[in-house]
Symmetry: C2
Subunit: 355 residues, 2 copies
């Protein structure tokens, strides 16, 4: 008593187009054509088919459909974690644009593990995703870069696209769309804002060598200092990752280490700013009365903190990623490399430095 494929434990199974055809007294071809819409069938036939579909509760088999030609269009996004606001907003943008373009959106998370990321890309390739969008940083050693650029090539070979968001290009000869943000520009603006308020000792919270996001923002910070002819003090740059807890830790340790030697803080992102604010508050220091602070990202925490920060167009990044990937064919195969701008959002976390 062999079970057919598709049978379920309780003996029922998905109904097929064949059954619909039988029930309606027509051929499968007719059913297929009527269901796919654009087909001039006679109203009577159409009605019978529709009734059969309803009665059997027929649902097309997406896999068979995909196999037989009609590619089921989908877009994949791979990110470290969906609970980080930045990634979530980008994902939201991807989802939105994918929906607009009539695509399903597959989301995969990696927890920041390059190995899992590679596996994810491979998986998405099997699923025939039209585009695979990679967001955020990974530590990129040579082996990784080589493997990823190979994936880019094979994706390109089958008409799919690799999109890199907020991470460096893999090289000029790698067929991938690249979308970057102007970290340095934003950081320059934010730091300049502090400098023009009279601050000279500005703590940089969250430097992290090897991570382009942090590096870009650090670069902007240093450039602003240079522009204002303020000597650069490496002791003011504190290393850490980009989470709230890290912001808290860094500030707490800093305050415990000795007398406060800064009047303002540039946090590498809003999460860190939040953690740092909390640590300051625990020592009775208030923002902006005692310490000025700017963040980066303009994500929800900055509302609660009333934080002056740099706006990054997160959702637009996602939308642009999808758009560029899908337009690719129409554009005749170029692989664009765009940089999205940023701008300062003023709230109330900076005060002119007391003379």
């Amino acid at each position: 008593m062999a079970r057919r494929a598709g049978d379920t434990a309780d003996g029922r199974r998905r109904s097929t187009i064949r059954e619909v055809a039988d029930k309606a007294g027509v051929s499968v071809a007719t059913v297929s054509r009527i269901l796919s819409g654009s087909y001039p069938a006679s109203p009577a036939t159409r009605a019978r088919v529709m009734r059969a579909v309803k009665e059997l509760d027929y649902v097309a088999n997406a896999h068979a459909r995909a196999l037989a030609g009609t590619p089921s269009k989908s877009v994949a996004i791979v990110l470290n974690s969906v609970i980080s606001p930045h990634y979530a907003h980008v994902a939201q943008g991807v989802e939105t644009q994918a929906a607009v373009a009539g695509r399903l959106c597959l989301i995969g998370t990696t927890g920041g593990d390059p190995e899992r990321e590679l596996a994810m890309v491979k998986f998405m390739r099997e699923q025939h995703a039209e585009a695979v969008i990679l967001v955020g940083n990974v530590v990129a050693d040579d082996k990784y870069r080589e493997r990823m650029s190979q994936y880019a090539h094979t994706l390109a070979a089958i008409g799919s696209r690799l999109v890199l968001c907020g991470r460096p290009s893999l090289g000029p000869d790698v067929p991938a769309v690249v979308i970057e943000y102007d970290h340095a520009g934003g950081a320059f603006a934010a730091t300049s804002h502090l400098l023009s308020a009279g601050h000279r000792r500005i703590l940089f919270l969250g430097s992290r060598p090897g991570y382009t996001t942090a590096e870009g923002r650090l670069t902007g910070y240093r450039q602003a200092l240079a522009a204002y002819k303020v000597p650069h003090d490496p002791a003011l740059e504190v290393e850490g990752t980009m989470e709230w807890q890290e912001g808290h830790r860094m500030m707490k340790e800093r305050l415990a280490a000795g007398p406060r030697d800064f009047t303002a803080v540039f946090a590498v992102n809003d999460l860190i700013a939040g953690g740092a604010c909390r640590a300051l508050a625990e020592q009775g220091l208030r923002v902006p009365d005692d310490v000025s602070m700017v963040g980066f990202d303009n994500l929800p925490p900055s509302l609660d903190l009333n934080l002056t920060t740099v706006h990054l167009p997160h959702e637009e990044v996602g939308r642009t990623a999808v758009r560029l990937a899908l337009e690719h064919e129409a554009r005749g195969g170029a692989f664009p490399h765009v940089t999205l701008g940023t701008h300062l959002v003023l709230r109330d976390s900076v005060r002119p430095r007391m003379q």
Copy 2:
């Protein structure tokens, strides 16, 4: 010069198992078996096949594979928006557990539109998702409930499962797994906390008739008042949705409407608490010195606000959803209905009321 299906614009195409077989000088069956692993092929043959795979950069066609039997396992989650921290955390839990169970996770968002939600479920059904997890509230009119319960039936018929997270059951005869949180219990604890600190005029921010989440929390609030024999004043219950902006609006309007007639606030969630705090701050009122506040959810904002709040096991909800759905067959077809507990997390946003 017809193009074969699978051809791409630039003339290259995905290589097939047939080509691998030819290149390796074996039959497709052999390649299939070797690639699927569990098959005792001779080392020589295996090596040749592997080399051919490498050279052609062969990737199995997931659709064909699914059609031919091996069901490609996946789990789908449908939510309003991925940028809401609550949904994001649940999604994270789903993703995690899906990965553990070797499943891909499909995420779809609806923007809260019931119509889009229905479409999404249908889509997931076509994709043969093993489970479809619905999270969060929708306004459920009768037409919607009927359609959704029909989907539940047909999903069940084909061996898939509908999971309802944080929304009311569709009825006892609807085959769906239901996971709820103890909103009332958490709200009771939070309100009691305020009451035991001496507060008697407690503003409830974010009631919303028809939405079970808000209703459950309101119920707990009222129960606590009753338990403390505090007269219930409808004027203290303010209606609004669950976003930051709404919290800000509600508090701002309240303060503008007349002299402050409350000493504490119970915000229906942390986002609202954040907005309310901001509005208070704008009027020079501080939490907790001037007004006490508790929130609900224990999501990131509560860290920045240093907010006493009710912890909801968001990620566990997601994990549990996947677990229950996948274990379903093993359990012999029961449709569990579980309620996850909550507990108060004390921070520093409540002060005893000044006598």
